[in-house]
Symmetry: C2
Subunit: 152 residues, 2 copies
C-alpha cells in the first residue's frame, strides 16, 4: 500500500504565503558529522588552532551544513511531504558565519508559481532566509521546487 500524502500541492500554496520554521541549535557534533559525511575537512571547520587565527576566533559550521539544516526545517513543516517531486534549483548567499551553539531557523515566502506543460505538476519558487538567535540573516536565497498538482 503506497504511503499517504500529507503535504500541500502546488495548487494549495499561494504567492505571499509565509512560513517560519522551528529553530535548531547548530553544534560542534553537527559540524564533525557534516565533515565526515561530506568529506569537507577544511580547517575553517575542523581545526580549532587554525580557527583562532581567523576573524571568527574559532571553528565555524560549514555553510552547507546550515543550509542542509534549513532544508530539514522546511521539510519538518510537513507541507512538502509526499507532494514534492524534486528540488530543482537553489541560489544561496552565505552572509554570516554560524558558530557552535548558535540557534538558526528558516523563514520563507512563496514568491513565484509557474504551471508546467505537464498538467500534474507545477514549479514553485520560495524566497528563503536563515536567521540566527539575534535575528541576523546568515543565509539568503531562493529555492525552486517541483510540486504535484491537485488531480483534475
Amino acid at each position: 500500500m503506497p504511503s499517504k500524502r500529507h503535504g500541500f500541492t502546488f495548487d494549495q500554496l499561494n504567492i505571499g504565503d509565509h512560513y517560519v520554521c522551528q529553530a535548531r541549535t547548530v553544534t560542534e557534533a553537527d559540524t564533525v558529522n557534516f565533515a565526515g559525511l561530506s568529506g569537507d575537512y577544511n580547517p575553517l571547520h575542523t581545526d580549532q588552532t587554525y580557527g583562532e587565527t581567523t576573524p571568527f576566533g574559532g571553528r565555524i559550521a560549514h555553510g552547507m551544513l546550515v543550509l542542509a539544516i534549513a532544508t530539514g526545517q522546511a521539510n519538518q513543516l510537513g507541507i512538502f511531504e509526499g507532494t514534492t517531486i524534486a528540488l530543482l534549483q537553489q541560489t544561496v548567499k552565505y552572509v554570516g558565519a554560524v558558530k557552535f551553539g548558535d540557534t538558526v531557523h528558516l523563514e520563507f515566502k512563496v514568491v513565484d508559481k509557474k504551471e508546467s506543460s505537464k498538467p500534474d505538476r507545477g514549479i514553485l519558487t520560495i524566497e528563503t532566509t536563515v536567521l540566527n538567535q539575534d535575528d541576523k540573516a546568515v543565509i539568503e536565497g531562493q529555492w525552486v521546487l517541483m510540486l504535484k498538482r491537485d488531480q483534475a
Copy 2:
C-alpha cells in the same frame, strides 16, 4: 603554533584552470546519515514504498547530500586548505537524480577573479559540474569563494 597553509592563494589560481576531483559512490548509508543530520526525512529519500511510486522507482539521494559530497571532493584536492576565507555564494541546478550506488565526481573551472577593496583577499568564481558514472551531469552551477592573496 598556527597550522601551516597548503592551499593555493587567489594569485595562484587563474581563469581557465580546470580540476577533476576523485569520485565517490553515494550509498544508502550516506542518505540515511544525511537525513539524520539535516532532519530532511522527505519520503523521496527515506521511504522505499513511496519511492517505488515515483518515476525514480525507489529512494534517491538528497540533492544537497550530493552537493555536500562535491564540496568535500573540492576540498580534498588540497588547493583550498588554509587559503579559503569563506564560501560566499552558490547557484545550483539539480539536473539529474542520484540513486544509491551511483558514483559521482566534481569537475570545475575557474571562470572569474575579482580583486577586493581589501588587499589581502580576492573573489574567485568557479563553474562546477557533478557527473555520475555515465558522465551525465547531475548538478551544475557556480560557487563564489573568498581566498587569501599572496602577501606583498
